[in-house]
Every structure is written in structure tokens, then in C-alpha cells.
């Protein structure tokens, strides 16, 4: 059975605890990076991370990008969407097609 983790600042992720996700509050860059690695080793299949935290550890996240597990998914934090999650989608398209051919859709 696989587990789901949520990482980010405590205020944003507290609610996820109540619906059954494991929450891992992180406050700074180093903590976030080490938490991410230990979660990945720990058999979490799905890690949600707030965009605020994610923006600090982009390099670490991109290491897991082409791995089958874990899936690291960005969610907006309590400060609202920063558009980083959408940028990731865009990057996938650019990587595959060469240009963002769906940009005009929104």
C-alpha cells in the first residue's frame, strides 16, 4: 500500500491531515530538501508540495521528474497560485513537442 505525503508551510497543509494525508511541515530550504529525499526513500508514491516550498528546491524536485516513483505534484499554497505548477505542465509540452502549442487554450 502506498502513502501520500503533503509538504509545505504548516498553515497551508494542516487541513490535509484531517482527510488522511501525512503532513510534513517544512520551514526552510534545507529542511525541505532533506524531507523530500527521506520521503522518497520511505516509499511515498505521491508527494504534494506547496509551490512556495517547491520554488526553493526546484533542483531536488527535477531529480525525481523522470522517475516512476514518487510523483511530486505542486499545489498552490495558502498565498495563492504562483503559476509554477502550470509552468511544469508547460515544460513537459515544450520538452515533447518543442514549443508550447497549447498556450492559446487558456
Amino acid at each position: 500500500m502506498h502513502k501520500i505525503a503533503v509538504m509545505g508551510d504548516k498553515d497551508s497543509i494542516l487541513g490535509f491531515k484531517a482527510i488522511g494525508f501525512d503532513i510534513y511541515p517544512t520551514n526552510n530550504k534545507n529542511e525541505a530538501a532533506s524531507t523530500l529525499h527521506s520521503l522518497a526513500d520511505d516509499g511515498y508514491a505521491l508527494i504534494y508540495i506547496t509551490e512556495n516550498s517547491a520554488s526553493e528546491i526546484m533542483d531536488e524536485i527535477s531529480k525525481y521528474r523522470n522517475r516512476y516513483f514518487p510523483a511530486i505534484i505542486l499545489i498552490p499554497g495558502s498565498t495563492g497560485s504562483l503559476g509554477i505548477g502550470m509552468k511544469f505542465v508547460k515544460e513537459s509540452i515544450e520538452k515533447a513537442v518543442g514549443a508550447d502549442i497549447l498556450a492559446q487554450d487558456d
Partner: protein, 223 residues
């Protein structure tokens, strides 16, 4: 294009021709694979975008509700209310094969839940806003999981498409032209040798006939 460094012999020629045939076939197959992957990828990525937009909208709703709840309750009370979850989400991750790309499929089920009662706290010490936030969060969960599945799939497929495209291009623009050029070179070389050989034989024949019949002397003696 660079010619491969080989000896211009018939055996090498046969081998190269075989390699060219394989390369052409591989190129065609990879190209088909790339096209099909691209078709599937575009469908998935479109869905991915849509799902992300939904999730981002729903999440901002959840957060605004939480902010209201936090404003009305003390931090300790809020934490206390949420600290012990009533339901447990179990995630089952299996894999699906799209054009030989392994992609994850997430299935989840909730445990320990009775009906719509998702609140892990009593209502005495909590505010109504928290209930609303919890309900909104509950609603966004399936979307979050769907998003995770789509996004990971899109990432993995993008990677595979890039790899396949590189292979197709390498075959199309390097491997196949190189082989063609080398084959052409060997054929020319062999033809040239053949012609050289032929002229040599003709010359030898001439010389032998001359030796036997002394044509030149006879021509000179005639008036």
C-alpha cells in the same frame, strides 16, 4: 556526411547493406512510435491542464475557508481538532503501459469513514467555517489524485517522446546517410577495380597476340 572507415570489399558491402536495411526499418518503427506517443501525449496534457486549473481554483477556495476558520479559532484549538484523522486514505498505485511507457495509475479508497461524516472533531469547540473548509477539502481530494496521475504520466511521456525523437533524428540524419554514402563509396571502388582489371586484361591480350603473330613487323614489311 562522413564516410565510415571500412575496407572497400564485397563482404563489408553486404554487411553494410544489411545494416542499412535494419536502420531504415528501425527508423520507420520509431517514427511511428513517436507519432503515436505524441497523439496520446497531447490528449493527456490537455486534460492535465484542465485538471490543474480546477484544482487550483478549488484549493484557493479551501484556503480562504481555512483562513476564516483560523481567524475564528485559536491555533491550538485548530490543531487539536485536526490532529487525529478520522478517515484514512489508502492509495493503490498500479501501472499502465502506454506505447511501452510505464505510467502510474492511482486508485484510492477511504477507510474508517461513515457516510459523509468526515469531521474528526466535535462541534463544540470548533467554528462552522472549519466544517466548510473540511468539506471543500474533501471534495478536492479526488481531483488532486487525478491531477497527480495525469501530471506524472505527462512528465514520463514527455521524457519518452524526447528520447524517441532523438533516436529518430539520429537515424534519419546521421546513421542512414552515413551508411548510404559508405555503400556508394564501396560500390564505386569495386566498379573502378573491375574496370582497371578489364583494361589490364585487354592490354595483356594485345601483348600476347603481338608476341605470337608479330603484327607490327608484318605491317612494316607490307608496301
Amino acid at each position: 556526411m562522413a564516410r565510415l572507415n571500412v575496407n572497400p570489399t564485397r563482404m563489408v558491402l553486404t554487411n553494410l547493406k544489411k545494416r542499412l536495411r535494419t536502420a531504415r526499418r528501425g527508423h520507420k518503427l520509431l517514427k511511428d512510435k513517436r507519432d503515436e506517443l505524441m497523439k496520446k501525449f497531447l490528449g493527456i496534457v490537455k486534460e492535465n491542464r484542465k485538471e490543474r486549473q480546477i484544482v487550483e481554483k478549488m484549493m484557493s477556495d479551501v484556503y480562504s475557508r481555512f483562513i476564516m476558520a483560523r481567524a475564528l479559532m485559536s491555533d491550538t484549538h485548530l490543531e487539536e481538532a485536526l490532529i487525529f484523522p478520522k478517515q484514512k486514505i489508502t492509495l493503490k498505485a498500479s501501472s499502465k503501459n502506454i506505447m511501452s511507457v510505464e505510467v502510474p495509475v492511482f486508485e484510492f479508497s477511504t477507510e474508517g469513514q461513515t457516510g459523509d461524516d468526515i469531521f474528526p472533531y466535535g462541534f463544540a469547540t470548533t467554528s462552522g467555517e472549519l466544517d466548510g473548509a473540511m468539506m471543500a477539502l474533501q471534495k478536492v481530494t479526488p481531483h488532486l489524485l487525478k491531477l497527480a496521475e495525469l501530471e506524472k504520466t505527462a512528465q514520463l511521456m514527455a521524457d519518452e517522446i524526447e528520447k524517441t525523437r532523438r533516436r529518430v533524428n539520429a537515424l534519419e540524419y546521421v546513421m542512414i546517410p552515413n551508411l548510404e554514402e559508405t555503400i556508394k563509396y564501396i560500390v564505386m571502388k569495386l566498379d573502378e577495380n573491375e574496370r582497371g582489371n578489364l583494361t589490364r586484361l585487354m592490354k595483356v591480350k594485345d601483348m600476347m597476340l603481338e608476341e605470337a603473330h608479330h603484327y607490327k613487323e608484318r605491317m612494316a614489311q607490307q608496301p
